[in-house]
Symmetry: C2
């Protein structure tokens, strides 16, 4: 295949091509069709960039994937470039050492943000040329684009009509401006159009683009894949469906209309899109980096919030069953990580409304849990789970009325004092953030320390974010708000926003502990000092109390935990069998 | 006087002049000589801008000064412009409504930062012209510049020679670059040159500028004011003293030297300086907005830190005496806010090393404490202090080995449940921040919520920063680091930095509560997760425990408070008379 790519390069008089991992929608998961880097290199981890020159090829990936990439690149001529390892050049230096300013480097302009492209253009010696996807012709083994069924997301779930969402999105703009918003993120489009698709794993989205006007929406998608109810609804809401493949062409035509002010989110505007609109009379970036649609989508309406509650109730029931199942079977030696994940799915399936997992389930025993995103995908590779140490379970589900995401760490036995203190510190961090109140304008960056303080005071730290936004029957990771220590999103937490709260401790080679609830921002009080908000917990899954250091946890956190467990029992028990309810009562005992 | 200013405007063919409050050193306090706005308008509050046109004059000030400005402007033709009040135009709109693009507006280029000037130039219709100080000629009543004694700050206090400080400041720069750093902030220069002056109230600085080279320092100051020891020392440290008034001229000459790379802090580069260096071949801003010298100054060395401890010990002794004095005399009806401030100074004077207050003392009874910076300046205007409500005292002192800043709120009697809860919340916030630990790279912006959380959970908020850096026998407010919620300084807290911790509650018309200690950043631990820091408290003044809600305070904070009081007693008691020590023992009883 590399030979064919090189022939293509020669035909174009180019010297190299850069092949990234993402698709033109800049989402977290990518359909096989777009996994060109994996197809060409054999390395199918989620992150990696392949660079092919006329005589060489190299693949850059990060430390999570060093072992996997090494194995999968074996026997190829592709050099593995371990990012972050001393002495390993980055893509720019590597290319500059090989291709001078007379050379030409290609990339698919739809797969690079305008900012990434500008950075390459500035730093690479060679000329960088953006082209349209060149692989259809030369890679017949490429998976075709697949368009699965698209269904209506009823207003009884979504809470608002497409027309009212459209009005909301434009409500802050000057009324006399003829604005067109360019949308490339599939989840933004699903939310806006009250539809859901099935084109991407875990994310119920349809591959699509949209142009959003004050009085209509042009939706670029595969019309044949839409159910009738969706088609009828969209027509009633002034949504016109055009072919998915015609998006760039229509943009090109639109761009010459001098009356239109085009707006695009800076975080998801590709080099290809920007070059199309470079000729437009009025083109600019949205004030918010992720765009007005993503921002409005992040503030859930009362119907959506009610749905999240229902989703967490259903998921709480399944979680109680799996926790009891593990407890009942741990001694038998028959449990493994993969079988537990499967069994949880079985319990979830008992609800008709279950629509699938919201991400690849993580069930990780002891040392396996020390990598934050470990996931066993078969019985063979899964560790047998025995009654020793910690078992970490992080999974979520999709329901038409909401998406869930919960992590529990189950203490088994033979725990050390340090393990007990670590478990307590993680729980205390989770609770401290849950109890937080804050004034209007506060961002997650300012609250993050509350979750980390109990860990930091033990000289521990975790290197992922404390919280991410969560979609409504959409992506489990959703922006624009977050709770992080490494960078400020600049997006204040507002009532209606829903995000995770998941502090953790990872001890390499030994164990990982993470406890995750999902929080809704709610109003707290308003007075002469300002408007204040606080969190309300949506998750309804018991938290293991058997290995808490009560003194370390403190009175306030213990009181919070007891109240939480009281609520979990009240809400979940009525839906359980008698013996399950008795089990839950015991788990929810005050400490 | 306005007539003379207008004659000057006419002579220059100008239409208006903008007169600000600051001096060309951009410090917090200003010598009378530079108080032109106060001289011309009669309004002598610390913040205000006067604009004079050929036919009108107006003064902009903020809500703290509305009443005072109204009174002081009475009988003049100057209009009071209340900033932030609806319908009141800002300076730009007011000027644009009066002077069109053919007009000319003057300002003293040394008193406006380059950024402020650029903003005026962009937004004002008229041409904006920077001029040199025009007032010496037309205002004979202006106070002359005063240069008080300049003394050596011995290395036994400062901890480092000027030569080693110079090396430190340049240690991060490329060795082959011929760099000149431009310094206009007097405290930076005092620190760098190991000298102290007496030209500004509360800040022991000499009016000065400096040009800092790798191998020498050109110090622009009044040489006649230097004591002999200082002159000898400076000569030994390759510091050459040039006349204060020759600074801009020498800069102009230097600027034509193409071999020099000039660096200036963006936060203190005036329009006048920037225009002088606009012609230089190499001129740029320092990477850090406040400059490398301010940054190095903020990280105190071990000798300076030892000095801070000694300063806080001495000040703690004086504080114990004033607290006991108030307790002993409160019933007599003879105490007022001003007399208490005076008495504290008397107690401080018992140490030979006392060099004066570090800021105007704040002693504020009940409602008076609800304005954060209230200060009575005579017995007549001071409130009589009786045994009811709260008495807030915020004062600090200068010692050659350090500067102090402490606030205590004394609960008297007849306190309500709400007052007790407010007092406890403020104290809890102060303690939560004192107990914080954090990872390398953390800024005060990320920690601020720890101090505010107990207040916010009661729907309370204070609108000043939680903490400011503190100079070493220099300005009590010092950058570049701080602990604030409204903006991120971007400066990480590092071991050796010294800053205040002063959460508060202000209830208008009723009372103000503030508790302030000073914290040093110290190393905590370093391991595979990173380098961690924590705070150590420098202040040694007992905190009233009589109105603490013990349950609300929590076990952890109570334990911290008991340990703190144990240390206060151990350190201070040996220096007290017997009856004072008994009194202190009682105040330091565990709760």
């Amino acid at each position: 295949m590399l030979t064919r790519v090189r022939a293509c390069l020669s035909a174009e008089r180019a010297d190299a091509i850069i092949v990234p991992s993402n698709d033109p929608h800049f989402g977290e998961y990518v359909q096989k069709h777009f996994c060109i880097r994996a197809l060409l290199s054999g390395f199918d981890g989620s992150a990696g960039t392949l660079v092919i020159t006329l005589s060489e090829a190299a693949l850059w990936t990060d430390s999570r994937y060093f072992i996997q990439a090494e194995a999968q690149l074996k026997g190829t001529d592709i050099n593995l470039m371990k990012m972050g390892v001393e002495g390993v050049p980055d893509i720019v230096s590597w290319l500059n050492a090989r291709i001078d300013d007379k050379g030409m480097i290609l990339l698919d302009g739809a797969l690079f943000s305008a900012a990434e492209y500008a950075s390459y253009r500035k730093n690479l010696n060679a000329r960088v040329v953006g082209i349209a996807d060149p692989f259809d012709k030369i890679l017949p083994e490429r998976e075709p684009l697949r368009f699965g069924p698209v269904i209506l997301q009823k207003e009884s779930y979504s809470g608002l009509s497409v027309i009212s969402k459209r009005e909301m999105v434009f409500s802050g703009d000057p009324a006399d401006l003829h604005i067109c918003r360019i949308l490339t993120r599939c989840d933004d489009i699903m939310w806006l159009c009250n539809i859901r698709g099935s084109d991407i794993d875990y994310n119920p989205v349809a591959l699509s683009y949209a142009l959003l006007f004050r009085d209509k929406i042009l939706l670029f998608a595969c019309k044949e894949a839409f159910e009738k109810a969706a088609l009828e609804y969209l027509e009633s809401q002034q949504v016109e469906i055009l072919p998915y493949a015609s998006f760039y062409e229509v943009c090109g035509e639109m761009a010459s209309d001098d009356s239109i002010h085009f707006l695009s989110p800076s975080s998801s505007t590709s080099m290809r899109l920007e070059s199309i609109f470079a000729g437009a009379k009025h083109f600019g970036y949205e004030v918010r980096a992720e765009g007005e649609v993503a921002y409005r989508k992040s503030i859930k309406n009362p119907i959506e919030l009610e749905g999240f509650r229902k989703a967490n109730l259903l998921d709480g029931i399944a979680w109680c069953r799996i926790l009891k199942y593990i407890e009942d079977n741990i001694a038998s030696g028959t449990l493994n990580e993969y079988s537990i994940a499967r069994q949880l799915i079985e319990y979830r399936r008992e609800s008709r409304d279950y629509r699938g997992e919201s991400f690849e389930p993580i069930v990780a025993f002891n040392a396996n849990a020390a990598s934050a995103h470990y996931s066993a995908t078969s019985d063979e590779e899964a560790a047998v789970v025995t009654a020793r140490g910690f078992l970490l379970i992080d999974t979520g589900a999709q329901y038409p009325y909401g998406t869930t995401d919960t992590t529990r760490t189950i203490p088994l036995s033979e725990l050390t004092t340090i393990q007990i203190a670590d478990y307590t510190a993680v729980l205390k961090g989770m609770i401290e953030l849950s109890m937080a109140s804050f004034v209007k304008g506060t961002t997650g960056y300012q609250l993050d320390i509350l979750a980390r303080q109990p860990l930091i005071s033990r000289g521990r730290l975790f290197f992922h974010g404390t919280g991410h936004g969560i979609g409504h029957y959409l992506c489990v990771h959703e922006g624009p708000q977050n709770i992080r220590m490494d960078r400020d999103s600049g997006v204040a937490l507002l009532p209606g926003m829903v995000q995770s709260n998941e502090p953790a401790i990872y001890i390499e080679g030994e164990y990982g502990i993470r406890t995750e609830n999902v929080l809704e921002v709610v109003p707290f009080t308003e007075n002469e000092f300002g408007a204040f908000y606080r969190f309300e917990t949506l998750t309804l899954v018991p938290i293991a109390t058997s290995c808490i250091d009560r003194k370390q946890l403190g009175d306030e956190c213990a009181e919070w935990l007891n109240n939480y467990h009281h609520r979990v029992y009240e809400k979940i028990a009525p839906h359980l069998k008698d013996e399950e309810a008795i089990w839950l009562k015991n788990k929810c005992r005050p400490i």
